[in-house]
Structures are given as C-alpha cells and as structure tokens.
C-alpha cells in the first residue's frame, strides 16, 4: 500500500469519527463545541514550529515566526475561551440549589471567584 493511500485511509476514517462524535451534541453546547473544534485546529502550531525550525532562510524564518504567533493565538485562545464558557455550565448547579437571592450581581461575582 502506498503512503498516500495509508494517509487517505486515516483521513477517511477521521471524517467518520468526526461526524460520529458530534452528531449527538445538543444545541445547548453548539457554541462551546465550535470553539473547542476551533482550538483543535490550532494544532497547526506544531506544523509552524516544524517548518520554522528546519529552515535558515531569513525571510522564511520571519514568515514562520508570524505563523507561530498566529497559530498559538488560535490554539491557546481557543482552549481558554472554551474553558471559560464550559466553566459556567458546570457551575450552574451550585447556585441553582440555593434559594433565589435578592442581589444577583453579588451572587454572580461570588460564584465566579
């Protein structure tokens, strides 16, 4: 089997896995899901590091550094912002248990601390 076919096989199988894992997601979590998927493609950072680290051409290094900065913004920012959203979903149970409070502003500050 040629290398290209091996890669094609991995690609096709990944397509099915990708569709399968998200097909049962409720619309409640669609925004974090999109953001989480977004963070995962930030893995292009790995590619940016590999190409930058294997060249000595000045122009290429400059372009590579730009790519690394962009890719790390994508990856790190994506994971952090997804976590911020999901944090609010998991925290919701605690305040739901306590009776309604009269100062919602103070309540929300306290819970997010």
């Amino acid at each position: 089997m040629s290398v290209a076919v091996v890669w094609l096989t991995i690609f096709v199988l990944s397509v099915f896995v990708g569709i399968e894992v998200i097909s049962k997601v409720s619309s409640t979590l669609h925004t974090p899901l999109m953001s989480g998927a977004n963070a995962i493609h930030g893995i292009i950072l790995l590619g940016a590091i590999l190409v930058t680290g294997s060249t000595d051409n000045t122009a290429a290094v400059i372009v590579g550094v730009i790519a690394i900065v962009l890719a790390s913004v994508n990856m790190v920012g994506g994971f952090v912002v997804t976590d911020r959203m999901l944090q609010m979903f998991t925290q919701r149970k605690k305040p739901a248990a306590k009776p309604a409070s009269n100062d919602s502003a103070a309540g929300s500050k306290g819970a997010s601390a």
């Binding site: 690609f11 999109m34 930058t52 919701r92």
Partner: protein
C-alpha cells in the same frame, strides 16, 4: 521516519482530540474533554523540541525565537480569551479561526519554499495538498476577518453586493483552480504567493454578500475549512496529529454547519450564494411607522404579576444590555409569587447556535427552566404572558407566512399564540435579519420601550411592589 515512540505519542494526541470532541457532547464531561484536548496539544507541540527532525537529522533551529513567538501568541490568545464578553463570543471564534487559517496558509507556503530549495521531487498529491492549504487557508483568514468586522459592527452587517460581483467571484474561483493545477505541474514560489492572494480575494467575495443573521453559519463553515487545511498540511508535513486533528474539525465542522442551517430552515448554498443570485437576503433594515401599542413598566408588572403561566423569550438584545441578571431576579420573584415561568430558547438565539445558553449560563439561570424550542412550542397557547426581551427574528411569524423573507422557513417560537405578548425593545428597528416583525403589530402585543437593563430594573421593582 520518526522514531516509533514519537509516532505513538502523536497517535495518543490524536486520540485525545477525539475524546475532547466527544466530551463536548455533554455538559458534565465537556470541561474535562476540553482539558484533555489542551493537554494533548501541549504534548504534541513540545515533541519537536526534543526529537530530531527526520528530514534534516538535526534538532530544531531558532529555538529561542520559536519559544518567544509562542509566548507572544499565548499571551495574545489568553488575553483575548479572558477579556472577551460572552456576547462577543461569535466574533472571537471567527478571529481565532481566521488566524489559524492564516497560519496554515503560511506553513504551506514555507513548506513549498523548503521543497523548492532542497530540489525535492514529491508526488503530485503533495503539491495538490500544498495548493489546497494555501488557497483555503487564505480564504478562511480573509473570510473570518470579514465575519469579525460584521459581527463587531465595524462594517454593515447587511449583505454587501456590487454589479459584476458574481463574475468576479467566478473568475477568482476559476483562477484559483487553474493556478492550483499549475502548481501541481510546475512549482514556483511566486505561484504560491499569487495563490495566497487569490485565496484572500476569494474569502472577501465569499463573505461580503452574506447577511448578518447568516454570518454564524459562515463562521462554522470557515472553521471546517481551516480544519481541512490543517489536515492537508498534515499530509504535506507527514504528521498524523495534524492530519487527524484537522480532519476531525473539518468533518465535524461541516456537519455542524449543516445542523445549523437546518435549524434556520435554510440550505448552505442559499446562505452563501443567495445574495449573489438576486439579493434575496436583503432586508428592509428600516423602522416602520405603523401604529403599535406600548405600555409602561407598571402595567407590564401587573400583567406578569397576576399571570399563572409566563414564558420568557430571551434574545441577543438582552445580553447586550447585560439585563440577564435582572431578568433572572424577575423570574425568581415571579416564581415566589407562584407563577410558572420558563425560558424558551431558540436554537439560534443570540448570535450563533447555543449562544443564548452560554449567555444565560453566565447569569446562572437554572438548567431546568431552559426549554428548547420543540419542548415548549406547544405551551405558548396556555401562556398568559410571553415576555420577549431583545429577541426579534426568532418569534417573527414572517418565517411562516412570507415566502422570500430572509428567515422564511426558519422554525420559530410560537409566541404569537399566547394570550398577551410584552415585547421589550429599544426602538422599532428591525432585528439582525433586517426585516420587520409582524408580531409587533399584533392585537395582543404591547411594547415596552427602553434599554433592556434599565427597563428590566423598573419592571422588577414594579413587580416587587405589587
């Protein structure tokens, strides 16, 4: 070839990405899933620092520079992610997606440069993947920049079209295809750069004609595009993590795009090319002078306070005004008075699917009060009062009655079936889809004008005083 153990590490990282997406399917496992994905990404990124490059047999060059670039990007990413308001989440996702696409295009250009410098002869499939990554990465970058500008209101959110757009569109697309084929046959750096520029132009032409309400679908689609470019980049670089990670995002993103389009009762092609074909997504965008009934917070309080069943339809306007905390308090007070209150959540309420759930989660609204559209639509006819706060398009009967309206065919919340409708609005300006809402002129509808936060405060006090 990479050492076997490194390949196994990459395989483990790829599996973790699958688990991360799987975790996101439920609120309980979501946060851990995201964490698993993040850890895998960090492990994958550290690997090239400790392993020799199989192609050159050397360790990484320019390590201090690379680390510095990662630090800069990390600081930027964390700063943006911490600072962004939940209402601005769609544009943040667009922004992050765009820079990812841009990075993928640059990586492919660099790889092309490396291959040319080393006079390597690759099979045509590698060159095709390179061309694909350059073009689609650039499309994703430019397209995301436009979606960001539209959502951030740096430019009009209405469709932007001009005479000859469709021809320019077709020419650009043809040029991208022809030059990509050319790159497969004869490689040159200039050709790569031109392809990148064509990709940028195509990204602009693709997103400019899309109207504001449809922009989230485009974000999801561009997200899938970036995923596919990363996958193609993985093939070019012979790296399984990139291939699997990118493909997962590409496949799930495409699927999510279709789900979202379904929730809006639209086809993806109609969303993308509707304006190209004849401006069907253009809305009026202007306020009408038809008569409406308005009421004061005190009157609204009486209606709400003595109702047995109240349904709240929250919209983006609520979150923008930061009125969700007061709203939750109002619901609590009504609950104490014995009123049954539920929130009716349209799947695309807010600026993107699930966005409203995030916004209400921020205000710590309990899960059990949030009802999805299909679960609550039958209850509207029993509701004494529906309180619509800052929502518009998701309750617009035009979706059922007006063929040709931008939202025609979109499933809506049946707020018009309730006995009374209180519509909290800042002005008579139409919603994001740019069309007038017939519900505003309904016999049973009364409008409560004002900034949602301010008015909600007054309403809350009036209900407390009952």
């Amino acid at each position: 070839m990479l050492p076997t153990w490194v390949q196994l590490v990459y395989l483990a990282c790829a599996v973790c990405f699958i688990l991360a997406l799987k975790g996101l399917s439920g609120p309980k496992t979501a946060r851990n899933g995201n964490l698993v994905g993040a850890v895998a990404a960090v492990v994958a990124v550290i690997t090239p620092f400790v392993v020799k490059n199989p192609a050159t047999g050397e360790h990484l060059h320019h390590v201090p520079l690379i680390v510095a670039a990662i630090v800069v990007g990390t600081i930027g990413g964390v700063y943006g992610a911490q600072k962004v308001q939940m209402t601005q989440m769609p544009q943040m996702v667009a922004l992050f997606n765009g820079v990812g696409g841009g990075a993928a295009a640059l990586v492919a250009l660099l790889e092309l440069h490396e291959h040319l410098a080393a006079h390597e002869s690759e099979n045509w499939f590698v060159w095709a993947a390179t061309a694909f990554t350059i073009v689609v990465g650039a499309v994703s970058f430019a397209g995301s920049a436009v979606t960001f500008a539209k959502l951030q209101e740096l430019m009009t959110s209405r469709p932007v079209t001009f005479p000859g757009l469709r021809y320019l569109f077709a020419i650009t697309l043809a040029a991208a295809v022809v030059l990509s084929v050319r790159l497969v046959i004869v490689q040159s750096m200039w050709l790569g750069i031109v392809l990148g520029l064509i990709g940028l132009l195509f990204g602009l032409l693709l997103v400019l004609p899309v109207g504001g309400a449809d922009v989230p679908i485009v974000i999801s689609l561009l997200n899938a595009f970036t995923g596919l470019t990363v996958a193609a980049g993985g093939y070019v670089l012979s790296n399984t993590v990139l291939l699997v990670g990118g493909t997962l995002v590409g496949a799930s993103g495409t699927f999510l795009t279709l789900l979202m389009a379904n929730a809006m009762g639209r086809s993806v092609t109609n969303i993308l090319f509707g304006a190209l074909k004849g401006g069907s997504t253009l809305g009026g965008g202007e306020a009408s002078d038809r008569p409406v009934k308005s009421l004061q917070p005190a009157d609204a309080a009486i209606l709400l306070g003595y109702a047995e069943r109240v349904i709240i339809v929250p919209g983006y306007g609520l979150a923008v005004a930061q009125a969700q905390h007061s709203l939750r308090e109002l619901v609590d007070v009504l609950g104490e008075r014995g009123t049954t209150v539920d929130y009716a959540i349209h799947p695309v309420a807010g600026r993107m699917p699930g966005h409203m759930n995030v916004l209400l989660a921020e205000a710590q609204v309990p899960y059990e009060q949030l009802k999805e559209m299909d679960d609550i639509n039958g209850d509207f006819k029993d509701a004494d009062v529906v309180l619509v706060v800052g929502a518009n398009d998701v309750v617009n009967p035009a979706a059922k009655t007006t063929p040709g309206a931008p939202i025609y065919g979109m499933p809506i919340l049946h707020a018009d079936e309730a006995k009374n409708i209180i519509f909290m609005k800042r002005s008579m300006r139409p919603g994001f889809a740019g069309i007038e809402n017939e519900l505003l002129f309904d016999e049973k509808t009364q409008l409560l004008f004002g900034d949602a936060k301010d008015t909600m405060g007054k309403l809350l006090n009036a209900v407390k005083a009952l």
